[in-house]
């Protein structure tokens, strides 16, 4: 058991340290937009589509009209962490909810 624990601890330390270095070295905190060339070939999902996919993974997708813009920004931050959603995913969902409420 001790060997397994040591392996796990080393793995966690390496993963955390590496992740911190890579993550904190990035100067871009916002979702990086695609270049023009990428845009030409990329079909991006809409916020509405992501809302349907991401929310339904755990619970029924919420009605945008149930909260105002201020509430949605609070809920979005909470759900980003709770459901471990990607930054661009939650940003698009939040924009959709605020536009449709």
């Amino acid at each position: 058991m001790k060997t397994i624990h040591k392996i796990l601890v080393v793995a966690v330390v390496i993963f955390t340290t590496g992740g911190m270095i890579v993550g904190c070295s990035s100067t871009k905190n916002a979702y990086t937009a695609a270049t023009d060339v990428q845009d030409e070939f990329k079909i991006e999902k809409s916020g509405a589509q992501m809302w349907g996919e991401a929310c339904n993974r755990c619970h029924l997708a919420p009605s945008p009209a149930d909260y105002n813009d201020t509430d949605w920004s609070t809920i979005a931050l909470h759900m980003r962490v709770r459901a471990n959603l990607a930054e661009n995913e939650i940003a698009k969902i939040e924009t959709f909810l605020k536009s449709a409420n």
Binding site: G19, M20, T74, I75, H78, V81
Partner: protein, 395 residues
């Protein structure tokens, strides 16, 4: 008198005329209200509650009771776009008493787009059930699968620090979480002899200097995010109290979880499949059993446990009838196997079925039937059948 009347009329009409002139758009002192400006600091109360009626038949012994009225408020304090404090309290009525619990209370900070740090008491990402699916308005059945909750083998929450985040891989997605907590403590049998060798995950003050480490990695391989496969582990080298004979007992737990949720036009609705396998391996130790005549007997056992659940639900969201659209059929199988030779040895299989009616996206009425076959365990085993009518609401 005539002059006085004329004078009063001049004053009166003059006043009205002046008043009308004053109240025009150019000179009006009342300005139009400004658009609503939200404050930078935001506070919200969310949460959920549930109540219901239970009928239980355990080996011919029947009982029925209204239960619950559980109330779980969640407090969200958003300090900025990166910083938030969240806490959930849980009020429940059990054994004729009001029980209050702190489900979680943690502060979180968004370090960058792929990394968030949390500290405090948080729900552990050991599989997905306890972290994401256990609230009554999310859980499709009125009960939890075997292996979770009281006397379960899967941890629910811990006090410590966590790093988590997600990556968009251009279609597929990857999410991760790594954490360190106080870890569980071992029940050595001195207080509850029948539970010697079990883990107690409510370890508010660490009983030793060894911390637990764990993590989960989840992969959503398809662009529509319909499928998620996750692997979790949780380990500590010491779960016994410092300087006790159990100090060096180590633990390794792992879980594998799976989820598939998709709207399939061919069957006119949503299919939702979820499952999780939990495995617990605790170092062997020697425990003491005290017999009724006062004699003591030492015993040991291979301290390995596992549990599993698989759940399938179907919602006919594309049906023509509004009533049908709000229905959901759910079936779940779960089992639990605890160590052979332990006082808490148990082999249980459980089947649960429910017909749910969704009043809104966050309010559901569940009519469920559940049957559990057990060998061993706290109640000595046998068959327990239950019929439940529960109403859950999220807010």
């Amino acid at each position: 008198m005539k002059k006085l009347t004329i004078l009063l009329m001049i004053v009166g009409f003059g006043h009205i005329t002046y008043g009308q002139t004053y109240n025009n758009f150019e000179t009006d002192s009342v300005t139009a209200p400004e658009p609503f400006k939200p404050s930078k600091t935001q506070f919200m109360i969310r949460g959920y509650g549930h109540t219901g009626l239970n009928f239980m038949n355990t080996e011919g012994e029947k009982e029925s009771s209204y239960v619950g009225s559980a109330f779980a408020p969640i407090f969200l304090f958003k300090h900025s776009d990166r910083l938030m404090f969240e806490a959930e309290l849980e009020f429940g009525l059990e054994n004729n008493e009001l029980e209050v619990g702190l489900e979680y209370a943690d502060v979180m900070y968004i370090l960058n787009k792929n990394m968030t740090v949390r500290a405090g008491k948080f729900l552990l990402p050991f599989g997905t059930f306890m972290e994401r699916l256990h609230p009554a308005w999310i859980n499709r059945l009125p009960t939890r699968p075997l292996g979770f909750g009281h006397d379960g083998i899967a941890p629910a929450s811990g006090i410590g620090v966590e790093l988590r985040g997600a990556f968009d891989l251009g279609g597929p997605k990857l999410n991760y979480a790594v954490y360190s907590t106080n870890g569980p403590r071992l029940k050595d049998g001195s207080v509850e002899p029948e539970e010697a060798g079990m883990l107690m995950f409510q370890n508010f003050e660490d009983n030793n200097n060894s911390k637990a480490f764990g993590g989960r990695i989840g992969l959503l391989p398809f662009a529509d995010s319909s499928t998620e496969i996750g692997f979790s582990s949780y380990s500590t080298s010491k779960v016994g109290t410092t300087d006790s004979e159990y100090e060096n007992v180590g633990v390794f737990l792992y879980a594998i979880d799976f989820a598939f949720i998709k709207q399939i036009p061919a069957i006119s609705g949503f299919i939702d499949i979820k499952g999780q396998y939990n495995n617990s391996d605790i170092d062997d130790a020697t425990y003491t059993e005290v017999h009724e005549d006062g004699d003591e007997e030492e015993y040991t056992f291979d301290n390995k446990s596992n549990s599993f659940y698989a759940q399938l639900s179907y919602r006919p969201t594309m049906a023509s009838s509004d009533f049908m659209k709000k229905l959901e059929l759910v079936g779940r199988y779960s089992n639990l196997n605890t160590p052979e030779g332990a006082e808490w040895e148990e082999r249980s299989d459980q089947y649960a079925f429910s017909l749910n009616y969704w009043l809104t996206w966050r309010s559901v009425i569940k009519v469920a039937y559940q049957t559990t076959d057990s060998v061993g365990g706290h109640d000595g085993g046998g068959t327990a059948n239950g019929f439940f009518i529960h109403w859950a609401i999220g807010f």
